[in-house]
């Protein structure tokens, strides 16, 4: 019985290899990965609290592309990248200088300077979703659709 059991495992193992080879022939092994300087690793997220200095619709010299939120924490000023959609649409990020905020994101070094890829901005009771957990910037249309009761139903 014990030997039979071991034989079954062997058979299963061989079948598994056979199946894997068959799959590989049709579908070469491809593995996507977090790639590039703009990659977003949600496990590295932190939340910073601070006061809004300014909101830039276009980057200043040396900044990465897209809009930016500049705020000051107890540790110093922070350049938060908002991407290209945060300031667009009916539910665009609406904060003003002097306002207290919390920003959740991942700190990166791009173009030899620190930048904070913002995923969420919380101002009072309002939470603005800037990026999703893969680092995709969230468009106004996507934000609106994410609030629907039947998300993902598009057809």
């Amino acid at each position: 019985m014990k030997r039979l059991h071991a034989g079954l495992w062997l058979l299963v193992f061989l079948l598994s290899i056979s199946h894997a080879l068959a799959v590989q022939a049709q579908s070469p092994a491809i593995a996507t990965k977090a790639a590039g300087p703009f990659s977003y690793d949600v496990s590295q997220e932190v939340t910073l609290s601070g006061t809004v200095s300014s909101v830039l619709t276009q980057p200043a010299a040396g900044m990465i592309m897209g809009s930016h939120l500049l705020f000051v924490t107890s540790s110093g000023p922070v350049d938060a990248s908002l991407g290209k959609f945060a300031l667009l649409g009916d539910d665009a990020l609406a904060v003003t200088a002097g306002q207290q905020i919390e920003v959740t994101g991942v700190a990166k070094i791009i173009k030899d300077r620190q930048v904070f890829l913002a995923r969420k901005v919380t101002a009072g009771s309002t939470v603005y979703v800037i990026r999703n957990k893969h680092g995709f910037v969230v468009s106004p249309q996507a934000r609106e659709r994410a609030t629907r009761t039947t998300p993902g139903e598009g057809q």
Partner: protein
């Protein structure tokens, strides 16, 4: 006194001579009448026809002969002097001069040697024959004929403007009755007005007669001016005679062609920017009139053409410069929400008569795509590779690519890679890319415009999406997602009859560009295949302004027998983007799905079956990098091949207001120097004046990369009319002299585009004229 005496002697001497001759002759004749003979004066008359003609430089058929009689009696032994004109049209005897003396025979006939016409055409002229003592002369009327040229083909023909006359012009040259071989015949058409050109591109050419005396011109093509009849002369060089051909240029023969078109980009309407896609089929007659058509427009966010009918194209016009192939296509549709009250304007740049690069050019949206002659009817059948790019039902960017086959109404053996944000933030488990998904579908038969549907698929990984397709031909199909809440478009290309493997990939250039709605990036490069399944080369990357240039790359790839495969750029060898420190990822573009197509198919110009053949479609499978592109065999990296006239275009994403601008253009490349003119669609304002622009100049000098042969860098200056140049840092990768990829790599913008060598535009179905005017509020020139 002395002169008079001499004259008398001269007059007396012949008389005495004749008396003596008569006496001697009379000794032998029983009927002699000496007194009468002495009194007779010799006279000269022509023996044969006094009128002859011969071609210049040739002998007259008969010698000259004259009879001398004295009274009724022929005079034997009389000296007859033949004399031809000393100048002008004349000839020579055997002695090489214009005169000779011959003696009469017993019948009183003096015969000249052969008389040969000199080189001067003309006549009739007189050759005289005189005899001493005679009071009359015989005149021979001769003519020197020039070589004669006559039309061999019908002297009257007509052809539609810009088309070839049915028969070449042919003229026969004869000399007398004989054909003249080797004679030069010059055909000359009018230099201005209604006329035409020979194969040398000019209004005149010289051809040589064959053994039958026939000189035949090359094909004579009517120019663009209606008119006639006008005269084309055929002149033979050895003479002055000409033959006239009467030709007429008629109005263009009105025929019609079917074109499919597709574009994707960003729209201004519907509270844009939004992603949108547009695909359709349009019938255009040879004068540029849009006859009819169908199209599907979809932004997935409020504007989707009604299905299943789509939009009807009611009319419009194609106007393009016949020399450059640049112009506009106006499409009047029945969908008032599109363009300006239903009228869309596309900027077109023909590469050849059956292929054009296009952009939307009316300020309501901007996008890039292609327009190609359709072969109708065509039915999808066999194996295909495909890619799609757009937004999913969550309005997140998504790209997909793979392979499938079609048999009848069944789409089968589908295998698709999908890269996009298919979850909605925290509501579902994270999924970014799903690879090797099987799918099937149902394909409807195409209608008269080559339009059909593909339904029942699960291409977006969640639920089915509905696709419409437009046939370019059996091996090229444009595809558009027509669901109301998602949108995408792309192409499917045939895979031919062969199977695939790693050997399907050789030295190649590749390019990939982000979905307009996704992360903005572009990459282009080239590689060789040192061993099956491995590659090494160089590429350029621009990921939202983070740029790496001429970075070494290497890695592995695999291709299954279905043509489905992938290519991975090894991380350890990958370049580091500028400013990215140690410890951070070097670059984003590293894993590409590749889907191999028919090696007899040109992916940029699917009607081209001669050059730039083979390759693969590409989908970027890296997280967050939703892009598509293509891979083309690299067959010629010679800088000398990168020359001539090119059509070019690109879709450029730029920072600031998050927009794109699109351009198409045409120009020449001479020893690396590009000089061209084009159209720019820039609703987002990359340039100083947002809007649509004509007459934009493009210039720059392409510098070959000495290390990476086939790669060039070119600072491309783009200058709006009346403006200052904006310089883009552009890199070019040369697949061949006919096909090159260009990539803008700047910190504030990036693009992927192409340079495609121009072919013949003769059959381009367009009226000549200026580009269509766009809405005044959008025109900022």
């Amino acid at each position: 006194m002395n002169r008079k005496a001499y004259t008398n002697v001269v007059l007396i001497f012949p008389t005495l001579t004749l008396l003596a001759i008569s006496f001697l002759t009379g000794c032998g004749s029983s009927n002699s009448a000496p007194a009468k003979s002495v009194a007779a004066t010799p006279s000269v008359t022509p023996v044969n026809s006094p009128q002859q003609s011969a071609a210049v430089g040739t002998a007259f058929a008969a010698p000259l002969a004259a009879t001398v009689v004295s009274g009724q009696n022929p005079m034997s032994g009389a000296a007859v002097i033949f004399t031809a004109p000393a100048t002008g049209a004349s000839g020579t005897f055997a002695n090489g001069t214009n005169t000779e003396t011959d003696t009469t025979n017993a019948n009183g006939v003096a015969t000249s040697t052969t008389f040969t016409a000199n080189a001067t055409a003309g006549g009739p002229y007189m050759v005289t024959a005189t005899v001493s003592g005679g009071t009359t002369a015989a005149d021979f009327s001769l003519t020197n004929l020039a070589d004669q040229v006559t039309s061999t083909t019908g002297p009257s023909q007509s052809a539609a403007i810009n088309t070839a006359f049915a028969a070449p012009l042919a003229a026969t040259v004869v000399s007398g009755q004989n054909p003249v071989s080797g004679a030069a015949v010059t055909f000359t058409a009018p230099a201005t007005g209604a006329s035409g050109t020979f194969a040398n591109g000019t209004n005149t050419e010289t051809d040589t007669t064959n053994a039958s005396g026939v000189a035949t011109s090359t094909t004579f093509t009517a120019n663009a001016i209606i008119g006639g009849p006008y005269i084309v002369t055929a002149t033979v060089s050895a003479g002055t005679t000409t033959e006239d051909f009467s030709l007429t240029n008629t109005a263009a023969l009105v025929t019609s062609s079917h074109f499919s078109f597709y574009l994707s980009g960003l729209e201004e309407i519907d509270d844009g920017p939004n992603f949108y896609a547009l695909a359709g089929s349009v019938t255009i007659d040879s004068t540029g009139v849009v006859i009819s058509g169908e199209q599907d427009y979809n932004d997935g966010d409020g504007i989707t053409s009604p299905e299943p009918s789509g939009d009807i194209i009611l009319g419009g016009a194609l106007k393009a410069d016949p020399t450059t192939g640049q112009g506009t296509l106006v499409l009047v549709t029945n969908n008032a929400t599109l363009g300006a009250n239903g009228t869309e304007i596309l900027g077109v740049q023909f590469v050849n008569s059956s292929h054009a690069l296009i952009i939307q050019f009316d300020g309501t949206a901007t996008s890039s795509g292609s327009m190609d002659t359709q072969t109708l009817p065509s039915t999808p059948s066999g194996g295909y590779a495909f890619t799609l790019s757009g937004v999913d039902s969550g309005y997140n960017p998504v790209v997909m690519g793979g392979v499938f086959s079609i048999s009848g109404a069944t789409l089968q053996n589908g295998l698709v890679d999908i890269n996009g944000e298919v979850d909605d933030d925290d509501a579902k488990p994270a999924e970014v890319a799903t690879l090797g998904n099987a799918f099937t579908g149902t394909v409807s038969a195409p209608d008269s415009f080559g339009r059909g549907t593909i339904t029942g698929t699960n291409l977006d990984g969640i639920t089915g999406i509905t696709l419409n397709y437009y046939m370019v031909g059996p091996e090229a199909i444009r595809i558009i997602d027509v669901d109301a809440n998602d949108s995408s478009c792309g192409s499917a290309y045939g895979q031919g009859s062969g199977t695939f493997g790693n050997a399907s990939l050789g030295s190649s250039v590749f390019g990939v560009e982000g979905d307009p709605w996704g992360f903005n990036y572009a990459a282009a490069g080239q590689f060789t295949v040192p061993a099956s399944g491995t590659f090494q080369g160089v590429d350029d990357n621009d990921e939202e302004g983070e740029v790496s240039r001429a970075s070494p790359i290497s890695g592995t790839y695999s291709v299954a027998s279905s043509g489905y495969g992938s290519l991975t750029i090894a991380e350890e060898d990958g370049p580091r983007l500028d400013g990215v420190p140690e410890g951070e990822e070097k670059r984003g573009v590293s894993v590409l799905g590749i889907y191999v197509t028919d090696p007899a198919l040109n992916l940029s110009d699917p009607n081209n079956t001669v050059t730039g053949l083979g390759g693969a479609l590409v989908v970027d499978l890296d997280e967050r990098l939703t892009g598509t592109g293509l891979l083309i065999p690299q067959t010629d990296t010679s800088t000398a091949s990168f020359a001539g006239n090119y059509a070019f275009g690109a879709q450029d994403f730029f920072d600031g207001k998050f927009w794109e601008f699109d351009f198409v253009g045409q120009g020449s490349v001479t020893t690396g120097t590009l000089a061209g003119t084009g159209l720019v669609s820039d609703p987002g304002g990359f340039f100083a004046r947002p809007g649509t622009h004509t007459g934009v100049t493009f210039s720059g000098i392409a510098t070959p990369d000495a290390i990476n042969v086939g790669r060039y860098t070119i600072p491309l200056a783009i200058t709006l009319l009346g403006g200052n140049p904006d310089d883009l840092a552009v890199v070019i990768y040369q697949a061949s002299g006919g096909q090159l990829l260009l990539m803008d790599e700047n910190e504030n913008g990036m693009s992927l585009g192409s340079l495609q060598q121009q072919g013949s535009l003769t059959a381009m179905p367009a009226s000549k004229g200026a580009e269509a005017k766009v809405k005044p509020k959008q025109e900022n020139n």
